[in-house]
């Protein structure tokens, strides 16, 4: 132990703190998969035995499937649009100097700190004033609003991480702005684009408040689940669904983190 540098010596109180911290974060979440396999309508100890009934019930629920599809549609559309906006926004912020740049960036990032309930109510009022009926499109609109800052933040680090002279070299070698963007900028920020897509999709997928205000008769999955809580006999299948979402979200977030940390050098080759 003596030869370990002072700064990296193990610290027992900190270790205990770390374990408590992780327990606080994840033990409640782990009850979800645990009770989803419990052979009882009631969520209570002791456990009553193993069953996959709730999963079968979940798979048979047509309304749940419709809600799931709605969420996937909204998530896909809002993540793609938010990421496209994020790419151009991040490029503008990192590559050009324009008057009023800092205030503009601050305004773009604002939805990060504005409570979603305020954004939701504001959008609802605006849409009804404009006479636009609520639908999956209005939910998508709301989700784009809250996803763009996350997309920008992810992509700005990516743009800052590569040398501007790469784009200049592309221009020097005969590419106009669009070709240079397509052949150099996009491949260079590609891991950031993927990370942004995954991040925005997860944000949209579990977003409740905006969707609640902006939904019509077609619910997204969180709204559907919230509706199901009124029926006790449906609760275990909601747990089963929750467990599935938990696993998928974990995989997706893990994958997006891994992507955004990966160096560009290991990228697949794109373009000519």
């Amino acid at each position: 132990m003596k030869d370990v540098p002072y700064i990296s010596r193990p610290n027992r109180p900190l270790g205990v703190y770390a374990i408590l911290y992780l327990a606080f974060l994840y033990i409640p979440v782990l009850f979800l998969p645990l009770f989803s396999f419990n052979d009882s309508l009631f969520i209570a100890f002791p456990l009553r035995g193993f069953t996959t009934n709730w999963y079968q019930q979940m798979l048979a629920d047509e309304q749940m499937h419709a809600a799931l599809m709605n969420s996937i549609k909204v998530g896909a559309a809002s993540s793609v649009i938010a990421t496209i906006l994020g790419v151009f926004g991040a490029k503008a912020v990192t590559r050009f100097r324009m008057p009023g740049q800092k205030p503009v960036v601050a305004v773009i990032m604002l939805p990060l700190v504005i409570p979603e309930i305020i954004l939701g109510v504001a959008l609802l009022i605006l849409l009804s004033r404009l006479g636009i009926p609520l639908s999956l499109y209005t939910i998508t609109l709301g989700h784009i609003l809250i996803c763009v800052p996350f997309s920008m933040a992810t992509l700005i680090t990516r743009f800052e991480g590569f040398d501007k002279s790469m784009e200049e070299a592309a221009a020097d070698l005969g590419d106009n702005a669009w070709w240079a963007f397509w052949r150099v900028t996009v491949p260079m920020v590609f891991p950031g684009i993927l990370a942004s897509l995954l991040l925005c999709f997860t944000i949209s997928f579990d977003e409740f408040i905006m969707a609640f205000f902006l939904a019509s008769t077609e619910p997204t999955l969180p709204i559907f689940i919230w509706g199901q809580l009124r029926f006790p006999q449906k609760l275990p299948s909601v747990l089963a669904l929750g467990a599935c979402i938990l696993v998928i979200s974990f995989v997706v977030v893990f994958f997006s983190q891994w992507l955004s940390r990966r160096g560009t050098s290991a990228l697949p080759e794109a373009g000519v």
Binding site: D172, L173, D175, A180, L267, E269, V272
Partner: protein, 369 residues
């Protein structure tokens, strides 16, 4: 340089960044096939000038002509120039072959012809067989060669090089200098080379523009800049120089008689026609033009006595700092051999005689130091 065969003309070009003047009314004419260097310390405006030639910056005022065509408003991708970037800017997502072939898209060269062109370029920079390597599998020298091949494959009329050898170690740098010069001569295209390394500029260039504070101080051949610098700044930047405060006490037959504190009266022939009696000037002499001996040399009328303050043995030559009475700064002497009596050596504290040939002393205007 006569302007009628000038291939590139930079006319009254200035560039401001806010309140900073990076390039200040520069006039340069560069001939086709010339190896031209922009030399100066960092921040002197040399890179900005190069970037204006490439089209990455546009001049605040003035105009650049390449092959007779005005370049203002012409974007980088439409200019007859290509650039080797300081950090090489090799595309990390492409292998060597695709990096080099990058510039062929806009020339609509594809298929077998493209492969042939890339192979030629690889051969030119001696990287045959490296086409499949990824950029992170290349050494600094190889990256430099890829950057060169990628620029040359477009057969530019002008190649711009932004301190391309700066990142290489000394030995490799000297090797690449010879190769670059040979390449430039065999391709017969104009090279514009930015560097802060005066030896590199001297070794490579047909002509050098010495820059400082956004202005060109002197544009001439390496020999002329070294032997006849226009002012003390140029003299100091290109190699080392001893400066002596002097006043003119007599003028006759194109020669000036100077009074130098501690050195007595010295005769100088250069630029004598500009002088008048009583003017304060600088007399300057290169360290390697001075000789040291431990007794008064009989064969030279120009000599002065001093005491060695410091001595450094560098193998092929020795450097001495000699304190001479009447001078604030010690005199630098670079000697390949010293004339000493048998059994003597020149060390710290030795009394020595410094001597020189009359024609190695040059005269500079005082105000410009």
């Amino acid at each position: 340089m006569a302007t009628n065969n000038a291939y590139i003309r930079i006319e009254q070009v200035s560039k401001r960044f806010g309140s900073v003047v990076a390039v200040d009314q520069v006039d340069v004419s560069i001939a086709g096939g010339e190896f031209f260097s922009l030399l100066g310390a960092s921040g002197c405006g040399k890179t900005t000038l190069l970037r204006m030639l490439a089209g990455f910056e546009s001049p605040t005022s003035g105009e650049i002509y390449i092959d007779g065509a005005a370049m203002s408003g012409v974007p980088p991708h439409k200019r007859p120039t290509n650039m080797v970037f300081q950090n090489y800017a090799i595309f990390p997502h492409l292998n060597v072959h695709r990096n080099i072939a990058y510039g062929l898209r806009s020339e609509r060269v594809t298929g077998k012809e493209a492969i042939k062109r890339v192979d030629e370029a690889l051969e030119l920079v001696k990287l045959q067989g490296f086409g499949d390597r990824r950029s992170n599998e290349l050494s600094g020298g190889q990256r430099q060669r890829v950057a060169l091949a990628r620029a040359l494959i477009r057969r530019p009329k002008v190649l711009l090089l932004d301190e391309p050898l700066g990142a290489l170690d000394k030995k490799l740098r000297e090797e690449m200098q010879l190769e670059l010069r040979a390449l430039q001569q065999s391709l017969n295209i104009t090279f514009i080379f930015v560097t802060h390394d005066q030896e590199e500029a001297m070794a490579l260039s047909d002509r050098i523009a010495v820059m400082s504070g956004g202005k060109t101080l002197q544009i001439s051949t390496p020999k002329k800049i070294y032997n006849n610098p226009v002012n003390a700044e140029v003299a100091n930047f290109i190699g080392q120089m001893n400066f002596l405060d002097a006043s003119v006490v007599g003028l006759a037959n194109g020669e000036a008689l100077l009074d130098v504190a501690g050195w007595g009266r010295l005769k100088v022939s250069s630029r004598a026609e500009y002088l008048r009696c009583g003017a304060n000037v600088l007399a300057a002499i290169r360290p390697e033009k001075l000789r040291l001996s431990d007794r008064r040399p009989a064969d030279s009328e120009n000599c002065v006595q001093g005491v060695i303050e410091a001595a450094a043995y560098l193998g092929d030559r020795s450097h001495f700092h000699v304190a001479v009475e009447g001078n604030d700064k010690p005199i630098a002497v670079a000697a390949q051999e010293v004339r000493v009596s048998p059994g003597e050596s020149l060390d710290r504290g030795s009394r020595v005689w410094i001597s020189w040939a009359s024609d190695s002393l040059i005269l500079l205007d005082k105000a410009e130091k």
